[in-house]
Symmetry: C2
Subunit: 473 residues, 2 copies
């Protein structure tokens, strides 16, 4: 019990609170392999839920899963110049196979654009071969110096979609389609509000023509980029010499996209919804929606527990039963740390009246109900909790987005208030750089097609965009 209670208070030390929660909720453990984490069963089960929902959405929109090599020969990585300069400093290099030195060193993929391009060059010959809508679920490696569970790690579990299209329009449509699939998923499953917009040239992906991102705000006001979708134009395709015969029998170049989300989304779940008791999971992404806690192991309680398990099974509601040899108090605390949307306490006193106690995790409200009403109550509760979590997160986030009309205002907000700042921007990288240098705030994303009036918050020249700024994970 004590070890569970030892979660640092969220408002006292947010970073420590975070690592306490990932550890005590049994999401992640540290390994002796530097920079790598172990994803524990409960953490992995959340990832599996995410995969299930997203994989279905990808397939419904015509995407197919493949598996590309995990290694990239140095010469292949070098083909697209902007791309290689972005990634080469942070790749892991394999130089030996067994005892033998390799003729050419190879890196573990930090992302797979070049592998897909190399393959697409081979298989795309005619307009009939387009579009190609491939995705893969895999692990990538980026040699980060400092790491934090789920947020920054040398190994990252993710999915990466890589698509090729006959026209610019179609590729742009795909870029935005996938962005909106992510947005829908994060809003409606993770209950996380996101700002969806375009990255500035400075912040876009190495080699992309346009990058779009989903920017979530954590409890502490810091941004987490929670997914990206990139439009490549024909840049990579040209570098790789990918061409096809169009309907007019002309040799032309196709247009490309890539898009991905990672286990970072678990970090976002923690930092958006978690509280001083631990993790709080939205019902639609919780691997187990209910935690059953028998208060003792008397025949009556055990029998009722089995009955309720049966009811849940019939109703297709996932659950875990904590029948370990621990005190009820410990089990309640553990269920709270692990963030099950609802726990059901099954105790002898309640059972005398044919009742059980439900505790919803978002509010910790206790609800005493008849055993017969469990399923209907849960169904209602799950909806309530899902909505409440989203609204709560939205309200908090919106209360921490500030408008700055001039540099004085910007300075005052940036130096006193956590959160995002929305401001006019001229589009010049020097203004973006100045804000970054002065306040360690990078641009998050800009909203396209917003009508702008007024001057740039930094240089006072006429503004072109509305841009969000924020510190980031």
């Amino acid at each position: 019990m004590n070890e569970l209670k030892e979660i640092t208070k969220r408002d006292i030390d947010f970073a420590k609170w975070y690592t306490d929660v990932v550890k005590k909720a049994e999401l992640v453990d540290y390994s002796n392999v530097k920079g790598s984490m172990i994803i524990c069963p409960y953490g992995y089960a959340i990832w599996e839920e995410m995969q299930k929902v997203l994989d279905q959405k990808f397939k419904e929109t015509g995407h197919e899963n493949v598996q590309m090599p995990m290694f990239i020969p140095e010469s292949l990585l070098n083909i697209e110049k902007e791309h290689v300069s972005g990634f080469a400093p942070e790749v892991a290099w394999v130089t030996h196979g067994g005892e033998e030195k390799l003729d050419e060193r190879i890196c573990v993929r930090p992302t797979s654009e070049v592998l897909f391009c190399d393959y697409y060059k081979k298989i795309i010959k005619s307009y009939r071969d387009l579009p190609k809508l491939y995705n893969q679920w895999c692990t990538i490696v980026r040699w980060e110096k400092t790491t934090r569970p789920f947020l920054r790690s040398r190994e990252i579990l993710w999915q990466e979609g890589h698509t090729m299209h006959a026209t610019k329009e179609e590729a742009l449509e795909e870029t935005l389609k996938m962005l909106h699939i992510y947005e829908d998923f994060q809003k409606n499953y993770l209950a996380i509000p996101v700002i969806v917009g375009k990255k500035t040239d400075k912040e876009k992906f190495a080699g992309a023509e346009a990058s779009y991102s989903l920017e979530a705000m954590m409890y502490d006001g810091v941004a987490l980029q929670n997914g990206t979708s990139h439009y490549f134009g024909d840049g990579f395709a040209k570098s790789f010499g990918i061409t096809y015969l169009n309907k007019e029998n002309k040799l032309v170049t196709p247009y490309q996209t890539s898009w991905g989300v990672t286990t970072r989304m678990i970090g976002a779940l923690i930092m958006v919804h978690g509280d001083d008791q631990g993790l709080v999971l939205p019902p639609k992404i919780a691997p187990y929606k209910v935690c059953l806690i028998p208060i003792n192991n008397t025949e009556e309680v055990t029998k009722s527990t089995h009955e309720i398990e049966e009811m849940l099974k019939q109703a297709g509601i996932t659950y875990q039963t904590d029948d370990k040899d621990k005190t009820p108090g410990y089990k309640f605390a553990l269920a709270e740390v692990k963030g099950y949307p609802v726990r059901i306490e099954i105790g002898p006193r309640d059972l005398k009246e044919n009742k059980v106690t439900l505790v919803r995790r978002d509010t910790l409200e206790k609800i005493s109900i008849s055993k017969n009403d469990i399923i209907t109550t849960l169904t209602k509760l799950f909806e309530d909790i899902q909505t409440n979590l989203y609204n709560r997160a939205l309200k908090r986030r919106d209360s921490m987005i500030y408008e700055a009309h001039n540099y004085e205002e910007f300075t005052s907000i940036a130096t006193t208030k956590p959160g995002f700042i929305k401001a006019n921007w001229c589009g010049d990288i020097s203004c973006e750089n100045k804000i970054k240098d002065d306040f360690s705030m990078k641009s998050r994303c800009l909203i396209e097609n917003e009508s702008i009036t007024g001057p740039c918050v930094c240089c006072n020249k006429p503004a072109k965009y509305r841009l969000y700024f924020g510190r980031q994970y």
Copy 2:
């Protein structure tokens, strides 16, 4: 059409037939990354079906998925002496992260025993922590010199279960339980008969106390080891210093298992069931049970195709429709190469009588039926095909297993007939080595608890075991 017809005949050049099929059935493509293959959508969909079935069986038997690091520091790999000597010659070594040389080189996991042990050492303290039943789906790397799609590759997609138990008995029970889950899966889903037995000491896994394997026979009589389950005793646990307090409050060592299957199983599917027309997939593992082929794109045919698609959807029967701009002949051939259990040809002549033509892939028999009978006919057909494929494979395999009672007989069979040889064996490695040297036949596995009479087939000393020998992939 021509390019599809160019499959080498199975009986003329089996190796070439195999590579023709993996390529033309669109399972795999070659990549420019030496030793690595690209698993194409259709091949990956088969792997996803395998994962779905097995993952459920693992979870039903109490196993949980985790994700361990993909890297192993050299010092960690070195802890178990037998293990490291088995794997060190074939690992890929990472020596640099970005520009920096690593203090200690790390290898990409060739298997994860040491990673799990390192973790179990940390989390297993009490009998209450046991058993630990962890599994992971991941990619491993073994630096093979010669590679073949699905059979031998530098990167392997697999699952690896790693479990820890309080007692020897429980660990042995787990080893056999998982072996039998594999056996059941291969018989009842892949329709592949397997010989399930114990590896000799010579052939067992590096560091294991006992290794069990599933040995399938390919069409050409060559063995494919199609899964393994290992009992480690307390060997690794002792090397790693894993101990726990038992119920009597004594510090003792737990017992360990590991077990795994890989995408090799796809190779087995091809080489057991495939024929001169290409792949033949058992309905229970086919990602799409039916291929719909509209003969033309008239309104009538298109309308009926949509109707049938709807019927299949309603019945939960997976399908793909080939409405590409190709001739019916090409589509029939492609459906055969790709091994859909049944294809449905939807043509105007049949439709006049409200009929369609079903072609079962295993026999290529054509069946003309009323459109209304599609679902009932398919349901029956799938069962028939599944059973027929298993029986056909079993019959062929059994016809290629020979008994040898002495070395003369062994020599005669080994030099003239493809297949397995079953023989008595004294248990001495020198006899096993002699047979390997003389005929390139390794021992496959032995059947435990079989009663033995007679002499060793090699040295004539009293035999202890009945052992299968065979050449292998």
